[in-house]
């Protein structure tokens, strides 16, 4: 079975469980925390992906890392995933979890890139605008990307709202190429 299908299944049941027990906020925090930790440590990623390390050892190490900062429920889920030997796709499972949780809570998670750091006012305006477009609660991650030259670029899943100078210059170039004969 393809990875995304498996990840979807684990994430779905984890979410359903969290909702049922009424601890969604807590779990979400845990998941964000764990994702952060894993993403910041190459060693941990290699450790999770390694098939040589025994299940018991993996479980005890994970317990040691996360026991203090996460709930018992999350820890149990981690152990369950390791038992099922799916710890190599833990990142995908948690990313899928966030996605499904957003769908459930009606949150639109935007990835906003700009050439320069945006002021708080600008961020406010931008978020308001997108709130009116999607008619949903917006959560956004702001980041800086120099090669946009100017303007901003908003990504929501597969859809891109492109208002960057880079894109406009490209479009202008295309326009000039295709319209070059009309000059004469």
């Amino acid at each position: 079975m393809s990875i995304s299908k498996v990840a979807n299944r684990y994430a779905d049941s984890f979410l359903a469980n969290a909702i049922e027990k009424g601890i969604l906020d807590e779990i979400t925090n845990d998941v964000n925390f764990i994702l952060n930790v894993i993403n910041s440590s190459d060693e941990l990623q290699r450790f999770l992906a390694s098939p040589i390390i025994k299940t018991e050892l993996k479980k005890s190490i994970l317990r040691e890392i996360f026991a203090d900062n996460t709930s018992a429920h999350t820890l149990k889920f981690l152990e369950f995933v390791v038992d099922k030997k799916r710890e190599d796709i833990l990142i995908q499972i948690f990313e899928k979890f966030i996605e499904l949780k957003d769908d459930y809570l009606g949150i639109v998670r935007l990835d906003i890139k700009s050439a320069f750091p945006l002021s708080e006012d600008l961020k406010e305006i931008l978020l308001k605008k997108f709130e009116s477009i999607f008619n949903k609660k917006i959560e956004a991650v702001f980041s800086q990307e120099d090669n946009l030259i100017g303007g901003f670029l908003v990504k929501y899943r597969d859809t891109v709202y492109d208002a960057s100078i880079k894109h406009q210059l490209e479009k202008l170039k295309q326009n000039l190429i295709s319209g070059s004969l009309s000059l004469n």
Partner: protein, 515 residues
């Protein structure tokens, strides 16, 4: 030296830029997971349509063929080395389509409508999708007008009607393309004022070259230009060096252009040269897309590949303008093996086939048509009455000749009747020989076949037949031109016309100098 002022340049640039609007662009994207061999697997593009055009970096376009659960399989129309893993893929929101219009005539284009003849851009205002559903029963009517190929053997015995699908099949080097090119050249007549007066509507031609050498395509273009056939012809070329996906879509693009003419009430002829190469291109990309292979490693839908293409050939009902799209697919066989996979498929789809044989070709019978196994299932209805009358006995005479041909080597040991049949057959075969690029108008075909079947050639030596035919046709044109005019106008052979032909033939026979 003329001077250009800088402010003038600025003005021009400003004018160009003023029309440029900068708005927020919304588009869907995906990421390349894997690329190679003209195939790309893309993650994302969640709303993409099947057979939609997608844009890769470096101006490479692709077409979506596989929609899978977590990835999308695309074929690339450009160089796959320009694309890297992780590149961004954009949707274009339109299915693969071809710009169509009358300006396409006289041009050489790629299957995506880009001109490659160096004559500048083509102005068109309409796009039609490359894959279109064939018309249903209600929109059609039976084939009823003839499509004259200008080749006597075909027009007499294997007639093609407008809206028919007739397969041209044969080994390599048997003159398949020659038949197709001659047919295009012969349509020149339909664009004349004279044809218009006689109620013959013009036929627009589309020649699709699939997997051929660029030099061959250039040769075809040169020949068509030489014989003045380019003004009503479009050539779509996906040559051997083009990626397989382009070769795969080329015939569909040709059909789309043909349909444009058909739907505007005109007549179109589409030649797919050749479909065996297209099937091979499709096999290549199917295997790369990991579709399961079947017989001869072709994918399971290779029959549908050709049937949906050839079903698009049609004769529209009068309500829809009565236009037509005739298809002449070409198939190359290996060592005369017509029972291979692709040939049997296409034979079963088409309304008949013209079978070309290499031993006939080598024996000097050109066009090397084997009239014994060539058939046309619907074209008979479209034949003009005059031709129908003379062709009946021609078919019979040739069939008898073929039956007795094996005895020919016994020579004088045979009885009189057999010898007569053999002699007549040999003369008829000689009569049907025809040079390349020299189509014969139908009225002349009728007269020469009439002479052949009615014994006027019996006293002429076999090697003199062609010269006799040429000279008598010239003689009739000069002295009895009314014969041709009557056949052209009435499309029938009345007893008076027959008498006139007989009179002319006897007059000429007395003057003919045997060599």
């Amino acid at each position: 030296m003329p001077e250009v002022r800088p402010d003038e340049i600025t003005e021009i640039l400003r004018r160009q830029l003023s029309g440029f609007e900068s708005e927020v662009d919304i588009y869907d994207v995906g990421t390349v997971l894997q690329v190679g061999d003209g195939i790309a697997r893309v993650y994302g593009l969640s709303k993409v349509m099947a057979s939609e055009l997608v844009e890769f970096p470096n101006d490479v376009f692709g077409m979506v063929l596989n929609l899978e659960e977590d990835s999308v399989g695309c074929v690339l129309f450009g160089d796959s080395t320009l694309i890297k893993e992780g590149d961004v893929v954009k949707r274009t929101n339109r299915v693969a389509s071809l710009p169509v219009g009358d300006n396409m005539l006289g041009r050489v284009i790629t299957p995506l409508g880009v001109p490659i003849d160096g004559k500048g851009p083509i102005k068109t205002d309409q796009f039609l999708p490359i894959e279109r559903k064939a018309l249903g029963v209600i929109q059609r009517q039976p084939v009823k007008e003839p499509l004259q190929t200008g080749i006597a053997a075909i027009d007499a015995m294997i007639p093609i009607g407008r809206g028919q699908r007739e397969l041209i099949i044969g080994d390599r080097q048997t003159g398949k393309t020659a038949v197709a090119i001659d047919t295009i050249i012969n349509q020149k007549y339909t664009h004349t004022e004279e044809a218009k007066a006689l109620g013959i509507k013009p036929v627009y031609c589309v020649y699709v070259a699939i997997g051929q050498k660029e030099s061959t395509v250039a040769q075809v273009v040169a020949k068509l230009e030489e014989y003045g056939a380019m003004p009503y012809t479009t050539i779509i070329s996906a040559s051997a060096s083009d990626p397989a996906p382009l070769q795969f879509i080329a015939p569909y693009a040709g059909a789309t252009l043909g349909e444009y003419f058909r739907d505007s009430g005109r007549h179109a002829l589409c030649i797919y040269d050749d479909l065996s190469k297209q099937a091979q291109a499709y096999r290549e990309l199917s295997l790369l897309l990991r579709r399961p292979p079947g017989r001869e490693a072709y994918p399971g839908d290779v029959f549908y590949l050709h049937s949906r293409l050839l079903e698009r050939a049609s004769k529209l009902s009068e309500d829809l303008g009565g236009g037509s799209l005739t298809a002449l697919p070409v198939i190359e066989t290996q060592q005369g093996d017509v029972s291979a996979y692709i040939p049997t498929n296409v034979i079963s789809i088409t309304d008949g086939q013209i079978y070309l044989e290499s031993n006939l070709f080598n024996a000097g019978v050109r066009p090397a048509i084997n009239v014994g196994i060539s058939v046309s299932r619907v074209g008979g209805n479209a034949q003009i009455k005059a031709m129908k009358k003379v062709a009946g006995s021609l078919k019979l005479d040739l069939a008898q000749y073929r039956e007795l041909e094996a005895f020919a080597k016994f020579g004088s040991d045979l009885d009189k009747a057999t010898q007569r049949t053999l002699a007549k057959g040999a003369r008829l075969v000689e009569l049907l020989k025809q040079g390349q690029y020299s189509p014969i108008p139908v009225e002349k075909q009728v007269v020469s076949i009439f002479l052949g079947t009615n014994g006027y050639l019996d006293s002429i030596a076999v090697y003199d037949v062609k010269r006799f035919e040429k000279e008598i046709l010239e003689f009739i044109e000069m002295k009895y031109n009314q014969i041709f005019q009557i056949i052209k106008k009435e499309k029938d052979l009345s007893s008076e016309t027959i008498e006139l032909i007989k009179k002319a033939a006897e007059e000429f026979l007395s003057m003919f100098k045997k060599s």
